[in-house]
């Protein structure tokens, strides 16, 4: 089991900077996940990049917990530092009727395509994104394919079955 003491220090640092930035955090299997309110995700990311040297955004991905869950969607940010080689995960929880979250493209440019992918497959809307359109599915696709309630064969008049 990896030692997560140093990761807890970053959590404490975030809490010391602004107590509202972190609602909760988990420590499981040597990985630390901080749950961040959606309003402050860009601020948290900017702080972690500038002050804590998390200079690499490894991944942004979405998750659908199921249509009956509330909050339904997760957006996960996997951060890595090429300086001190630590990994940190940030998680934003979103409800079904208002899946908006602030973009982190101004912080890491690589978030551009990651956020487009998350929008494409889950329908999470990143406010302030410079070019939020589909990236993997065809541009005229109907629906968001990785949502749990999306039918496997697609919507009937649409799919070429």
């Amino acid at each position: 089991m990896a030692d997560t003491k140093v990761l807890h220090e970053y959590i404490e640092k975030l809490k010391a900077e602004n107590a509202a930035w972190i609602t909760d955090f988990k420590d499981a299997r040597g990985e630390v996940t901080a749950i961040v309110p959606r309003e402050s995700i860009a601020d948290v990311c900017r702080f972690l990049k500038t002050t804590c040297e998390f200079n690499l955004l490894a991944d942004v991905c979405g998750a659908d917990r199921g249509a009956e869950e509330d909050p339904r969607f997760e957006v996960n940010y996997h951060l890595f530092s090429t300086v001190h080689h630590n990994r940190l995960r940030l998680k934003v929880l979103l409800s079904d009727d208002d899946p908006h979250v602030e973009t982190v493209v101004p912080v890491w440019k690589t978030a551009d395509w990651h956020e487009r992918e998350t929008y494409d497959l889950f329908g999470v809307i990143f406010d302030g994104h410079p070019d939020l359109r589909r990236i993997l599915l065809p541009s005229d696709f109907d629906g968001h394919a990785l949502r749990k309630d999306y039918p496997l064969r697609g919507y009937e008049p649409y799919s070429l079955t």
Partner: protein, 210 residues
């Protein structure tokens, strides 16, 4: 090889044949496939022109990178929904006469990929002449398909194919060929009027997901 001398001595200077026979013989002996490898079937397609299988024995070894120089489109592999307009466009760019071989289970029927992302059979987009089963088919099966296509070519007539736009053309409504649209950022695609001739506004565009 000396054969020319023998023929020259034994045949008269002028012979008469049916035009179809000569034209079809020339066409079938130099089928130029368009390279359209989409998935693992493409590996077998490459193998069929290798030294071991040697498709060039049947006059079809010249795989062209440009559809404008090709006669046969070998659709080898699964066709994704996003690839479908591109595939149709490449088919439209091929000059007449042209034929299509659907290679493998995925190109023929979608195969195991019965989902929203894969076109359930390339014959929804382009007219197919020969289907090859298998997952993937062996190179011998592809060679057999090309030989079957050669038989089909021999039975055609030059009168059958005209270089006019008919039901197969891009100007007609092609079921399942989906439009390439621009500017779909969070806006209704149905509002975006497309001017591309091969795109067809269909019912699904008027619906958006909840």
């Amino acid at each position: 090889m000396g054969l020319e001398n023998t023929l020259f001595e034994s045949l008269p200077d002028v012979i008469t044949v049916r035009l179809d026979a000569v034209v079809n013989w020339a066409r079938k002996s130099s089928l130029w496939p368009a390279t359209f490898g989409l998935a693992c079937c493409a590996i077998e397609m490459m193998n069929s022109v290798s030294a071991r299988n040697d498709l060039s024995r049947f006059g079809a070894e010249t795989f062209r990178a440009s559809p404008r120089q090709a006669d046969v489109m070998i659709v080898s592999g699964r066709v994704s929904r996003k690839m479908a307009p591109a595939l149709r466009r490449i088919y439209d760019q091929m000059p007449e006469p042209k034929w299509v071989i659907s290679m493998g289970a995925c190109a023929t029927s979608g195969g195991v990929f019965d989902n929203y992302a894969i076109v359930q059979g390339v014959d929804k987009i382009v007219p197919v002449d020969v289907y090859i089963p298998g997952c993937p088919p062996r190179p011998e099966m592809l060679i057999h398909a090309i030989m079957m296509l050669q038989e089909k070519v021999m039975n055609e007539s030059v009168r059958d194919r005209r270089d006019t736009y008919e039901t197969e053309s891009r100007q007609s409504i092609v079921p399942g060929t989906l439009p390439v649209t621009v500017g779909t950022t969070l806006e209704e695609t149905s509002k975006t009027a497309s001017t591309r001739p091969y795109t067809v506004a269909s019912r699904h565009e008027k619906r958006r997901s909840s």
